[in-house]
Symmetry: C2
Subunit: 531 residues, 2 copies
Amino acid sequence: MSNQKILIAGEWKNSRNPEGFFSSRNPVEKRELPDKFPISSREEILEMIRAGKKAADELYSISPEKMGDFLDRFAKNIEARTEELVEIAHLETALPKDTRLRAVELPRTTNQLRQAAVAARERSWARATIDTKSNIRSKFGALGGPVVVFGPNNFPYAFNSVAGGDFASAIAAGNPVIAKANPGHAGTTKILAEAAFDAVNDTGLPKATVQLIYHMEPEEGLMLITHPMIGATGFTGSRTSGLKLKEAADKAGKPIYLEMSSVNPVFVLQGALRERPAEIAEELYTSCSLGSGQFCTNPGIVIIEKNEEGLGFLNLVAEKFKENKPGTLLSSSGPKSIADAVATLINAGAELLVGGKEAEGPGYAYLNTLLKVPGDTFLNNAKVLQTEAFGTVTLFVLSESADEMRAIASKLEGNLTGSIYSDKVGEDDQLYKQIEPLLRTKVGRLLNDKMPTSVSVVPSMNHGGPFPATGHPGFSSVGIPGSMLRFASLHCYDNVREHRLPKELRNKNPTGKMWRLIDGEWSQANVTAYQ
Amino acid sequence: MSNQKILIAGEWKNSRNPEGFFSSRNPVEKRELPDKFPISSREEILEMIRAGKKAADELYSISPEKMGDFLDRFAKNIEARTEELVEIAHLETALPKDTRLRAVELPRTTNQLRQAAVAARERSWARATIDTKSNIRSKFGALGGPVVVFGPNNFPYAFNSVAGGDFASAIAAGNPVIAKANPGHAGTTKILAEAAFDAVNDTGLPKATVQLIYHMEPEEGLMLITHPMIGATGFTGSRTSGLKLKEAADKAGKPIYLEMSSVNPVFVLQGALRERPAEIAEELYTSCSLGSGQFCTNPGIVIIEKNEEGLGFLNLVAEKFKENKPGTLLSSSGPKSIADAVATLINAGAELLVGGKEAEGPGYAYLNTLLKVPGDTFLNNAKVLQTEAFGTVTLFVLSESADEMRAIASKLEGNLTGSIYSDKVGEDDQLYKQIEPLLRTKVGRLLNDKMPTSVSVVPSMNHGGPFPATGHPGFSSVGIPGSMLRFASLHCYDNVREHRLPKELRNKNPTGKMWRLIDGEWSQANVTAYQ
């Protein structure tokens, strides 16, 4: 048992006058792990902010190549500590070591860091725009203050506040990061922060480019994200916490990017139900149970027509929910919060078909849970019936008609994803055409004949969507280089002498590969028309 | 004297049960103009919202070419009514018919509409991104609900809610607009709305693509922008109103883009003061007095060193402020609000050098006003001393040292622009290098040896900046195509069958000219790698 240090102003230090300590818990054995992590005081948070601001000022004159070197080195340092990381993340989250942690999430994380390194060096992300006649030039650039990152509990590496997508995006855009660990995997976060800080030292970045605290009182969190020296905030977590942070940041005029909640509706049209019910039932169950249902893109609502095929499909799915044992949940709060959500759904008129209670056995677990509700009941109480249950809990909405299905699509809240399954022979074409435009404005990513849980890290990805799935419908938290734009300001230069411009805006293309919009055309060339 | 109609749900109609009427005033003769414009009731605002939402749904399947045709036709309709428009705008705002209204602002407005038409047709604005391996494709697309536009009082055409930059951007991105007229030029707005609605009919767009109300009670404004069917809001106006709208929109999770206030600091470095004081004084006065100082980019604060050259320069500027007569202000509230701001500056320690009171004569006017304040006084009360006075009012900050100048740069709030004047022989180079990074994070557009009041409508323009100048540091309200992205959501398609994709994301480039990011490279080609 030992008191852990925080990473503050370029040093691992004991927390001064901590407000208390906490430990991560092992979700299988339901016991506290030995390490004690401090709850930081306002005084040391203010110290971090000042150190972060100083680092932001210093980073202004540090080359993107160096940021790239840091990100690459960090990825390498993570790989060097794979065994340790897999061990501790498994202990803290109960996520399977293989394949999930070792073969899927860890490589995804280092891949994101390396993609960010490439993007930082190549610089096209900055969308440099040059108009030669007026000699006005602009590009996206760092915010001028540190980015605060709050990571969620469900991806100990890939969305970790000190190694995940927000971290990589913020750093690649030239900002320091103040990471707030998720208390569910503080030990994992500590090792990742060590690997990051080693990379900071190895590559000679300002030492406060990466800082880490484990916990703080809620009012200190609000102080942190609204502080005048802060650049922006990235948050992935619950809607309740997200909305509180959003309100404070909005009021202070500080950008905040949130990923808060999503029930990821799946429409299965009649032709598809007839054509391949077993195949779709299998895909659905796999998607619902991935990560014990604790994915932001978990399909929480399935909309079908209530008829023979529909009910047959529902039975197939119910079988799978029944016959499979649930996985261990991430934390002690899991079963309770799922039970609350299920109770909310039932109170609002949903009928329980499978599961509906905590699972027996050693770890935190909740039975795979399936519910159904008639379409008109859903329409009459749509907001409550879209309550997210963070686990393998799925609500079938049984619609009386195609008309009602369209009405249901219109009543959906903002979501990360929405899927439509359709047949291959064209019977579903008309209804697809009607539902698609309704769903389009409600979701960030629209899928066709595909379940939503796979989130590829490619430039075209949108892991975002309309409120309340996120705080803004124009940004994605996954997909480099787009995700970097969240942590950047638009910097315009008017009549600035060429030698005073950032390299990205000078006549010579700084990398020979950087894409720039010159006089309205994307180009990798030097600017020649101007003087 | 006649009661004017509103443009609602595709018809010019009398306001039902209006909450009252108002008239625009002629600022020269200080008299009410004859037309009576209604203050709309909640009932009819709700009708507009529903009609706007229906139009948004219909626009989903209307081609960008048609939106372009509308914008072009609208520009032509405006030109056909030039004489009427110049007459009424001059009556309502006192802005000079020539060259300002006829030769500058009206052509700028039609030019913006035509640029938006080109952008809509060409489609590169949508930043289509295609990854062929994963078959994920995304682009920006319409919001799915109408955009509410509030126009300011100072540009009756170019920022008009029914013809200006926000309008053009929102329409070109595929959204209907609900325009809220600025009460200062309701008659001008009426003619522009007529020209717009004629173009709607000429080109066969959904009739509620353009709607117009003149006024409403503040609580109805909040209801309007937070309504679930609304897409987003664009606002240009005062900080007080802007912050109220922002708070409501933020809470409802509705995007809002604001341009609220800016004092546009100008640093004149020592070498430049020595080298060309008379030239810079002339440029400064011209910039300060443009539009009677009622420009969002008006230089409200000038920072110089307090020494012989600095004081000599201040005298030169003071002469110009003294010897020139002020122009007529836009409205009756002008002199009062300037007087309040000047009193605030004086109470905070500024010393009045020139002007400081309402001007005599027939129209609303306030004497050109110059103030000064010592650098340390500014630093001790920086927030209040950055109060914007919307007129020809400029505060000189006299700094004791280069160090103090840097401290002043650090204390600036978010601004649209910031300028640095430097000499041509290199004496100012070192200080420029120190001040530039500090100023960079505070402003949207950084100028070198140039005053801020000219805002070119080019893609590289940033007419935006950090809070409180605007609500988000990553967006510009001027400069197509960038300004369109404010009124768009990121639409991602995952595994969607090709014939179901929007044309912009199919394999064939829909215009042959559209730039798309295909597998990480910008290209105008068709997609060939995929299948």
